[in-house]
């Protein structure tokens, strides 16, 4: 199971701050494809991703237990 965290407009778009995804998810890229099919997240393919609190790329491999966060353009400060 992979835990997915959503923030800002992504969170509002889905109506959830957290999703749990089960199934054959090999990489961040695969997860993005899967989410784009199942949730109203049309821009998800372009969004930055963090795996276990570190920035990652679409090629980053995933395994059960990982936490994946989608990081829209930040606006802190």
């Amino acid at each position: 199971m992979i835990r997915v965290l959503l923030f800002a407009h992504l969170q509002e778009s889905v109506g959830e701050s957290m999703l749990e995804v089960r199934g054959d998810i090999q990489s961040v890229g695969t997860l993005k494809e899967w989410l784009a099919e199942h949730y109203p997240l049309p821009g998800i393919r372009q969004v930055m991703t963090a795996v276990n609190e570190a920035y990652a790329t679409d090629e980053t491999a995933l395994q059960s237990g990982d936490t994946v966060a989608f990081i829209p353009p930040v606006s802190g400060g």
Binding site: F7, H9, A50, E53, A54, P73, S75, G76, G77
Partner: protein, 155 residues
């Protein structure tokens, strides 16, 4: 000192406390930066702001910024507190304190910290305008996200 130096909190930020964390006996200069909620932005009125963070990662990235600073300006100490939740006009969203034995490093490192925060710390601001609300994207504006990776060297 590490743990306390990098915080994300819902409470108002006590500036004095952030400053305290960087004081040492060889400190000659402390700079602080306080980012506050502005009422007017380009003729548009803000009622209040709402900040959201991916807290554990934000704290980790703030600490990374502190490490980057220590590498570039040896002998400096950095403390950063970012507030989240609802913020009213005039309230502090972020407080950065940097101490150094000499002032140039304290200014330069402080300015570096706020740039890095705006680049790569997972915190988001929602503007509640008089006439609507929006989540704000990268404030640098000119950065064509997501091509610019918010990585620092080596990460």
């Amino acid at each position: 000192m590490d743990k306390e130096c990098y915080c994300v909190t819902e409470a108002p930020i006590p500036v004095d406390q952030v400053i305290c964390r960087v004081q040492a006996r060889d400190t000659g200069a402390i700079t602080t930066f306080i980012g506050t909620v502005r009422e007017w932005t380009k003729g548009r009125r803000t009622l209040y702001l709402e900040y959201q963070a991916y807290i554990p990662m934000a704290v980790r990235m703030l600490k990374q910024i502190g490490d980057e600073i220590k590498e570039r300006w040896p002998g400096t100490e950095t403390a950063i507190t970012h507030r989240i939740g609802r913020l009213e006009i005039g309230e502090a969203a972020v407080v950065i304190a940097v101490s150094s034995s000499h002032r140039k490093a304290a200014y330069d490192a402080n300015a570096f910290a706020i740039e890095r925060i705006k680049e790569m710390v997972p915190i988001w601001k929602k503007e509640h305008w008089e006439d609507g609300e929006t989540w704000i994207g990268n404030q640098a504006g000119n950065i064509a996200y997501p091509d610019r990776q918010p990585f620092s060297k080596g990460s």
